[in-house]
């Protein structure tokens, strides 16, 4: 792995607020790292443990969940559930000796394009510092 490592980050974005922020960032031509690949989900609470593990198993170097602000979940408690689930998956990653920092959860509103970009840069930089996920997968093929 010579040269600068570019991580692949999978971002699960709730369809209500964070996805709107991402769209807003794009229409405002704000830049965020191309390392981020967005998957829209109907609610961040719908992202299960298995979705996060499969992402990491199949080549993502990091995963972030982006949910609505606390108290603003369309389904009342989805973002709280997701936060607890992320803590649980971090424990599982600990069992596998995979750095817990590869997984993060953020809450943002529908009008935070600048913050979306900032968070995208933040997780990308964190994972870039950590290096490729230690699963011996050639990321360039993905």
């Amino acid at each position: 792995m010579k040269g600068k490592f570019e991580p692949l980050i999978l971002a699960f974005c709730c369809n209500f607020c964070p996805s709107c922020s991402a769209d807003l960032a794009e229409s405002a031509k704000l830049q965020y790292p191309p390392n981020i690949r967005i998957i829209k989900v109907p609610c961040i609470g719908a992202v299960g443990t298995i979705h996060i593990l499969k992402a990491l198993e199949n080549g993502a170097d990091g995963v972030c969940l982006m949910g609505c602000l606390e108290g603003n979940c369309e389904y009342s408690t989805g973002n709280f559930r997701a936060r607890k689930r992320v803590q649980y998956v971090k424990k599982l990653l600990g069992k596998l000796s995979i750095e817990k920092e590869r997984l993060e959860i953020y809450n943002l509103s529908a009008a935070e394009a600048h913050r979306f970009c900032k968070l995208a840069r933040e997780i990308t930089e964190t994972v870039r510092t950590l290096g490729p996920i230690p699963l011996k997968i050639d990321n360039s093929k993905i």
Binding site: L53, L92, I98, L135
Partner: protein, 222 residues
């Protein structure tokens, strides 16, 4: 239902070390409800095992499957081809399911992936508690439908004891004194007189203390 908890991953890792073709087999009944051994947990555990082996540079082939009930022989035949193709079966069923698999497939190594914990119910999402100890001689008719065998820390039949304080058990302020609950419920049902009857010494021979239990119904046997 039977409530279980998945074993620690390190323990599972140790059990399956040396095997490269695994069948992770879940059970879609009780342990699926307690989020310990259903298809969801099979997928999660299989993913973790694959990642762990990849990092260790070891090959592993995992087949993920879950059947409706592992505690009935008739359901076990549906996986006979999968069992034949693997080195070992990591069963996420309760202890009954694991033993049924071992009995049905005597030539195959069957390993338990969960600890069978108790017979209980879901209080709310993520919280399960014990309700029945399977003592073989039910007393719920005399205790307002609340079991002192399973839910009294001392298993007292003529409670409460002196450790009951403000409706809580002396072992922890988080544990209800079931005898307080029994009294409250019988009072509400106008059946407090049931408490005047002293429970005689319980026959524990039907509770497994007389050896492994078995029921034979002659009218149903072949």
């Amino acid at each position: 239902m039977i409530v279980g908890q998945q074993k620690d991953f390190d323990e599972i890792k140790k059990m399956i070390s040396g095997y490269s073709r695994l069948l992770v087999l879940g059970c879609q009944t009780c342990v699926a409800i307690s989020f310990a051994g259903g298809m969801r947990e099979v997928e999660i555990l299989a993913s973790m095992i694959r990642m762990d082996r990849k990092m260790a540079g070891q090959d592993v082939e995992i087949v993920e499957e879950a059947i409706l009930r592992q505690c009935d022989f008739e359901f076990l035949d549906s996986v006979k081809d999968l069992v034949a193709d693997c080195d070992v079966v990591l069963s996420l069923a309760c202890g009954v399911g694991v033993q049924a698999m071992a009995e049905r497939y005597p030539d195959k190594v069957i390993l338990p992936g969960i600890n069978t914990t108790f017979m209980g119910l879901t209080e709310e999402m993520g919280i399960w508690s014990e309700r029945c100890a399977g003592c073989g001689d039910c007393v719920l008719d005399r205790t307002g439908g609340l079991c002192p065998i399973a839910r009294c820390s001392k298993g007292l039949l003529n409670g409460p004891c002196g450790g009951s304080v403000n409706g809580k058990c002396e072992i922890s302020p988080d544990v209800d004194c079931v005898w307080q609950l029994i009294i409250d419920r019988l009072k509400a049902l106008n059946q407090l007189e049931k408490l005047e009857e002293i429970f005689p010494i319980k026959d524990w021979s039907v509770s497994g203390h007389g050896g492994t239990r078995k029921i034979i119904r002659e009218d149903l046997t072949a």
